[in-house]
């Protein structure tokens, strides 16, 4: 019966975003505060949280330690072995520039890896039920759209929204479900193993800053190392310098290429996902598809992608779970999102 369904949501679970729900009557205040859990502890996606929810990474951190290690190692070798020689023979600005670039690269990398990329919280039970009902109602009418897709018109372009079976909602445009993180991410670009996180709406600019500054850093180190080897009078080549040369040589081409590719994406307001699938280049067989999100102006696109206001995280990972007073209703699915005050999650 419908009323039973809706009674799962307790009214005190609703309210203003930052208002802390009142503790259960008769409970010890100190106990309640000490044991109240935060939403990140029950987050349904495959993410790991550190510093009490402030930092988040994908469960498979991928090769982030390798990325960090390579950058730090190569830069340290550069500062230790090449800088003294170059300061003497060329200019003393070299360590300063190298240091600034190195700092910028590390900060951008950490910002990309530890930020919420734009994860959409999963639909609440009521919302999922309402959506299902809408799908069933529309399927019973004479025109039958393909199952579990919704067509919307964005800037005179037809866009199909897909239904996400894991998150139980129709994905907003440009949102994609990352199977590695098991989350729907807004403006999903790709899952980058090198940074150990998805790249999406909230961290794309940091990712772009990272790869561009890394290109500059590797090119800079490569240039300096080449200069060092050229200027050195005695024939012995230090092995460290040779190592730096090899690492930088291979990195420069790949990272420069990647930066170039992403500059193209930024200028046309595309994501890697859309580019690979050919969503707007007419590959899907439909004629005259244009990117409905592009402003058709390179400068406007760059500003929109890189300088737009940064939206806040939608998953509120450091918020507290609402406390429950009444006994629980039956909760068959485990993957229901945390905004529902599930009393089996509250600590007593």
């Amino acid at each position: 019966m419908k009323n039973c369904e809706y009674r799962q949501i307790e009214p005190q679970g609703l309210g203003t975003p930052n208002a802390a729900p009142p503790p259960p009557a008769g409970a010890n205040d100190a106990d309640t505060r000490a044991k109240r859990r935060r939403k990140w502890e029950v987050f349904p996606g495959k993410n790991r949280f550190y510093c009490d929810g402030r930092i988040m990474v994908a469960r498979q951190s991928g090769v982030l330690p390798l990325t960090l290690g390579l950058i730090v190692l190569t830069s340290c070798l550069f500062f230790v072995f090449d800088c003294p020689f170059l300061v003497e023979h060329v200019t003393s600005c070299i360590p300063a520039i190298g240091g600034a670039l190195f700092a910028f690269v590390i900060i951008s990398l950490l910002q990309t890896s530890f930020r919420d990329p734009g994860i959409l919280p999963r639909a609440t039970a009521d919302e999922a039920a309402y959506t299902e009902k809408q799908i069933d109602d529309s399927a019973s009418s004479s025109y039958r759209p393909p199952p579990r897709t919704l067509e919307v018109i964005i800037n005179q372009q037809v866009v199909k929204l897909k239904y996400c079976f894991t998150c139980k909602m129709f994905r907003p445009p440009r949102t994609s479900h990352c199977s590695l993180c098991d989350n729907c991410v807004e403006r999903f670009d790709h899952h980058c193993p090198w940074v150990g996180n998805c790249v999406g709406k909230r961290n794309y600019r940091f990712f772009y800053a990272f790869i561009v500054s890394l290109s500059f850093l590797t090119a800079f180190i490569f240039g300096c190392v080449t200069t060092h080897l050229t200027l050195r009078t005695f024939p012995l080549t230090p092995s460290c310098t040779a190592l730096e040369l090899i690492v930088c040589f291979f990195s420069v081409w790949s990272i420069l290429g990647l930066s170039g590719f992403h500059t193209y994406l930024v200028a046309s307001n595309l994501t890697t996902n859309e580019d690979i699938k050919g969503s707007w280049s007419g590959n899907s067989g439909v004629q005259n598809t244009v990117n409905p999100y592009s402003y058709n102006n390179i400068f406007a696109n760059c500003c929109a992608v890189l300088c737009a206001p940064l939206p806040p995280s939608l998953i509120d990972r450091r918020g507290f779970l609402p406390t429950q007073e009444s006994p629980p209703a039956a909760q068959p699915q485990v993957e229901l999102p945390v905004f529902v005050g599930k009393s089996d999650l509250t600590v007593v």
Partner: protein, 145 residues
């Protein structure tokens, strides 16, 4: 303390919930559909509802607006490696606070007296405006679906 909202939460039971969906016709910017849900016909004016949604849409547009101010904020953030937001709120967050206040005010003045409750969309991932319809206690019969 808001007596009417407290009453609703503690005493009334939920009859139904309506979800106002996002409107994507202008792109990925956060806007909600102004179409009046049929479940609310017996409870509230169409104009009142549309006015609420339209104000919300304007507020969200203000949050995401690209302009001189947002670029300045972006540049300042870039230069300070985003550490400036440890002491300062982003423009978006400021507008979200405004929205939360507006919704509370609307609930107090207009929706709670009619046995309805608006949920701030930020609690639903900015995907829907959830409107809870409470049972009509005034004449003892259940309304809504």
């Amino acid at each position: 303390v808001r007596p009417s909202l407290q009453d609703l939460r503690q005493q009334a039971s939920i009859a139904a919930k309506v979800f106002v969906q996002r409107d994507y016709t202008t792109g990925t910017i956060c806007q909600f559909q102004t179409k009046f849900p049929s479940e609310l016909e017996t409870r509230i004016d169409k104009q009142q509802f549309e006015e609420t949604i339209r104000t919300l849409n304007n507020l969200y547009a203000e949050a995401e607006k690209l302009g001189g101010r947002s670029y300045l904020e972006g540049c300042l953030a870039c230069v300070t490696a985003y550490t400036i937001f440890l002491c300062m709120e982003t423009h978006y967050e400021k507008v979200l606070k405004k929205i939360a206040k507006y919704i509370q005010e609307q609930n107090d003045k207009i929706y709670a007296p009619r046995g309805l409750l608006l949920t701030d969309p930020i609690e639903r991932g900015l995907r829907v405006v959830e409107i809870t319809i409470f049972e009509d206690q005034s004449n003892g019969r259940i309304e809504g679906r």
